[in-house]
Every structure is written in C-alpha cells, then in structure tokens.
Amino acid sequence: MIPDLFLLAVRNVLRRRLRSWLTVIGILIGTAAVVALISVGQGLERSVMVQVRRVAGYNTLLISPRGGLGGRFQVDIEAVRQLPGVMQIMPVRTEMAYVEGPVRRGIMPLVGYTAAMETFLVDLDVGRVAGRDLEARKEAVLGSRTARAFGAEPGSTVMIEDSSFEVVGVLAAAEGHTGLAGMAGIPISDGIFILYEDLRELFPGPNLVQYVMIRLVPGSDVVMVREDVRRTLVETGTTGAQMTSFADITEGISSILAGVQAFLAGIAGISLLVGGVGVMNTMYTAVLERTREVGVAKAVGAKRRHIMWMFLFESGLMGVVGGGLGLLAGFGLAWGAVGLAGRAFDFQGVFAPVFTVELVLGALLFSFVVGAASGVLPALRASRLPPADALRHE
C-alpha cells in the first residue's frame, strides 16, 4: 500500500500545475541561496587559509638587524641550534660578488645556501625550472633572471670572485619574487645561491649575517623559546639585532580568519533560515489549499497515516526536486558571482567556490526535510479535522 502511495505521489507531482511548480521554485531559490553563499564562503576561507599557510604557516622567529635592512650582526648559529624547541635555523648571509658568466660579467648578490633554506624555498613554492639542488661545494644555483642575464644554464661554469663554480640548477621563481631573500633586499630571481661554506671561504673575516630565520618544533611554546633564544644571543655576544615572531602575525591573521568564519556561519545560518521559511511558507499554503482533497481521501477510507505518507512523499519529492535544481542554480550563482566580483575588483582566479560533498548532501537533505515537514504538518492538521469539515474547506 505504501509503495502505491509513493507512485501516487510521483504521478501527482508530475502532473502538478503551474501553482505547484511555483512551490518548487520557492524551494529552488532557498536552496540556491544557501548553496551559493556557503560555497563562496568556503572558497574564500580556503583561499585565505592557503595564503596564510604559505606566508606564516609555521612557528618562525626572525632575527634581523636593528635599524633596518642592510645592517649586519654576528650570531652563534650552533648555540641557538642546540636550544630545545628549535627545529631549524637558517642564517642568511649575502655578499655582493664579482661574477663572470658565459655572456656577461657583473656584481651580483651572492646568497649563502643551507639545507634549511631548501625547505624554506619549498614552502615558498619556489621550484626549479632546470637542474637540481645544490649538493656539493663549488656548485651554484641561479635565480631565473640572473641565469638569463648571464646566459647560464645547468652545466655552465661561472666565475665568482675568481673561483670557478658549476651551475647545477635554475630557480623557477617569478621575476621580482620577494619573500625569503627579498627580506634581505634581494629578489630571489636576482640571486646566486652557493653553499654557506663556500661563501665563508670567499669572504673570510667575521661571520656577519643579514638575518636569521628560526623554525620552531611544532607545538612548542613560542614565548619560551623566544626568551631562550634572546638569552642565548645576549650570552654569545650578539648585538644590534632584534627578534620578531611570525606567531604574532599568524595570530593576527587567525583572529581575522575566525571573524570571517563566524561571519560566514552567520550568513549560512540566515540563508538557511530564509530558505527554510520560504520553503515552509509555499509548501504550507500549497497543502492547506488541498484540505478538501484530504477530506476526499478520508471519505473514501484513508486513515491518518495514509494521509501522512501521501503528503510526506509528495512534499518530500517536491523538496528534493527543488533542492536538486537549487543545487545546480547555486553552482551557477556561485561561479557567476565569483567571476563578476573577480572582474570588478581585479582578483580573478584568486579563489573559487568550494562544493563539498557535505554541502551537496546537506542541501538535498535540507530541502527534503524542510519540504516534507512543512508539507506533512498542514496535511496532518487537515487529517485531524472531521472529514465533513475538510470537505467543506474552500
């Protein structure tokens, strides 16, 4: 009997007139609004997360010269490396060096390269266009612009301060890409990277660095490690340096992000409410108008549970149809809105709406449940009337 009632509902929905399709459109609009807002919101959140992770995804301390860029200071790398909580320490020392390449010669910034720097470059998304990483002494990796200017490629030989180096790789970083080396005033694309030991050999004398980056063991207490580092720096005679914690920056961004998330949750909640009320309103009216049909069904022997099944199937079906169409409309709306806004505010391609499985299933479930509930409630109310009253209903 219940499958019969289901088939009846299918037939009923298929043969509905315009009035009832308006109900479906009401559900469609509600669902589309919810899907569009949530997917755009999640897209925004994801893109911000990616950016944040790229810039300051790790607990990092930066020791830089006091008084701005260009200054130098001495630091005892080994003493700091041995502190608990320090995972990696990356001293960055650059020198201006006389360089001769296959087609050109000139003064170029030379960057001392360490194993730690390699991970940093990976984190910065700086790949190589050609060759491999630095592995041995007397090897060099060039920034993309330097490589082009000097006509060098993997296999070429460059002379740096009268020593011969073999070019083993070229970095892919876009020209002007700052970040890491950019912090010492050098865009990555302009640098020449050689092993730190080679740099010290070429430039003997006091080991002065432009800055030091310290990556902390995940989960370590930034404040405590920072204090340990500060004390060690003082004890080992470092002067003229200051320390910044990326945690400070990350914390700021995190709190912004939390705000964004709360905002999005609020918008999603409001659109759910608006969508839900819209669905309930149209469904409720549509079913209330059919009170007389409920009376007819009861007159010919339908019991209350039969009425419930009939309307559960029918309004649930309408809910799912509206929800499915609303999902598609929501996809379109989200892409359209992001595209338009991207063009208007010139951030095309920065972020795309995100449609998670949870969102898709949730939207369908939402439209089914809200549709079914708001259809069944007035139907149940009508079924509680004596059939004589329901039949008299206009």
Binding site: M1, D4, L5, L8, R11, N12, R15, R16, R17, R292, E293, G295, V296, A297, K298, A299, V300, G301, A302, K303, R304, H306, P386, P387, A388, D389, L391
Partner: protein
C-alpha cells in the same frame, strides 16, 4: 430488525460558530435498511447535508446514538470509522470532488489503494466500472477534460469501487444539466434496485422523484417520522 444498516436514535449535531452554538440536526430518529432508497429534501440550512455526513461517518453526533451494522459508532476509533467508510460507504458529491491530478481510472482506483487491493486488480475493477458507466473512452482523461456529467459518473464509479452497501449522494445533480442529472439519477435508482441502500440529499423535486420514499427536513428535524 437485523437488516438495519444505519440506525439513528435522538441524534443531534451542534456546530460552534465563534461564541454561538448552532444546532444543525436535532433529535433525529431514522433507520436505513439494506435496499432503502431515501431522498432527503428540505430548504438550505435545514440540516440535511449534516445528517448525510453523520450517516456517512464523516462526522460524529454531538449527542444521541448512531449505530452502523449494529455497532455503536461512538465506540469506534478514527481508524475504525475510516475502515467502515472505506469498505461500506460510497460518496457522491455535488462538486464531484475528483482529484484533479489523477485521470478517471486513477480516481476510481483511489479508494482501493487504502483497502490494500493489488494494482492489477484495482485497474481491472476501475476499467470495468468505467465501461459500465459508459466512460470507456474517457479512462485516461483527467477531470478537467471531462464534462460535468462525465465527472459525476467517474465519481459514481469511484463510489462503487469498493462495492459498498450504501451510497450517499449530496446534491449529485446540483451542478449538472437536466439531461446529465437524469442519467445520474437513473443510475442511482438502478443501484437501489440492486439492493444497495441509497440516501440522496437534494432540493431538486425532479431528482427526488426517483426515490421510492421522500423524507423532509426542517430546522434540523425530520418532518414525518421514519
């Protein structure tokens, strides 16, 4: 008498309209036996439709005793009433009350769904009845595509689907032209002759002529005792 189908003893029905109680049926005594064909006449508001609704178990009396097949209706649950309506009673309404989204055959099948009749038997029964009522060509038409007379015949077929003991017709000719009205009344008379009980509410004297016995109602009471 054992063949009394419906028996009413001092049955009253009072509606509450806001603050006021409106008595619609007052102290009616009536026995409807197997095969009786009554026409119930009276001016508007005399309570004849209410009486029909009470006999058809579409409503419960406010007071008095209503027995159906010897069972006190007051003791029956909502589900029990639905079962009696579904198996024993067929309704024909003035406005037909067909489901607009269903074609003629599905409308006739509709009551059988609630009796758990399998789809194939439902279909056969519906087509058989529609043939009998001269609607063989209209089986797949929806109510909107049918004339008033045809719709009322579909409604009659629906009322007959469960092979009921009693047909309750509330102004069945009220929305029909006289030709269609005569057709419907002829069919109702034939049903009476088959041994079904028929209660017809009408204020059309011509329609009432088809009934062997005419009951008159005024101000909620039956004028000539049954």
């Amino acid at each position: 008498m054992s063949d009394v189908l419906v028996s009413l003893r001092e049955v009253s029905k009072t509606y509450r309209l806001g603050e006021v109680d409106v008595p619609a049926v007052r102290g009616v005594n009536l026995d409807i036996r197997q095969g009786d064909f009554f026409a119930l006449m009276g001016p508007s508001g005399s309570g004849k439709s209410t009486l029909l609704h009470l006999c058809g178990l579409l409503d419960r009396p406010s007071s008095g005793k209503l027995m159906w097949n010897g069972k006190d209706v007051a003791a029956l649950s909502e589900g029990g009433l639905a079962e009696l309506r579904g198996r024993r009673i067929g309704f024909v309404f003035q406005t037909f009350n067909l489901l607009p989204t269903l074609n003629a055959r599905d409308n006739v099948e509709f009551p059988l769904i609630f009796q758990g009749v399998p789809a194939r038997r439902r279909r056969r029964r519906a087509e058989e009845l529609l043939h009998k009522l001269d609607l063989a060509e209209r089986v797949l038409h929806r109510p909107g595509q049918l004339s008033g007379g045809q719709q009322q015949r579909v409604a009659l077929a629906r009322a007959l689907a469960v092979d009921p003991q009693m047909i309750l017709a509330d102004e069945p000719t009220g929305n029909l032209d006289s030709q269609s009205g005569r057709e419907i009344m002829g069919m109702l008379r034939a049903l009476g002759e088959e041994g079904r009980s028929v209660l017809l509410v009408t204020h059309d004297p011509e329609a009432a002529e088809y009934a062997p016995r005419i009951l008159r109602m005024r101000d909620g009471t039956l004028e000539d005792g049954a």
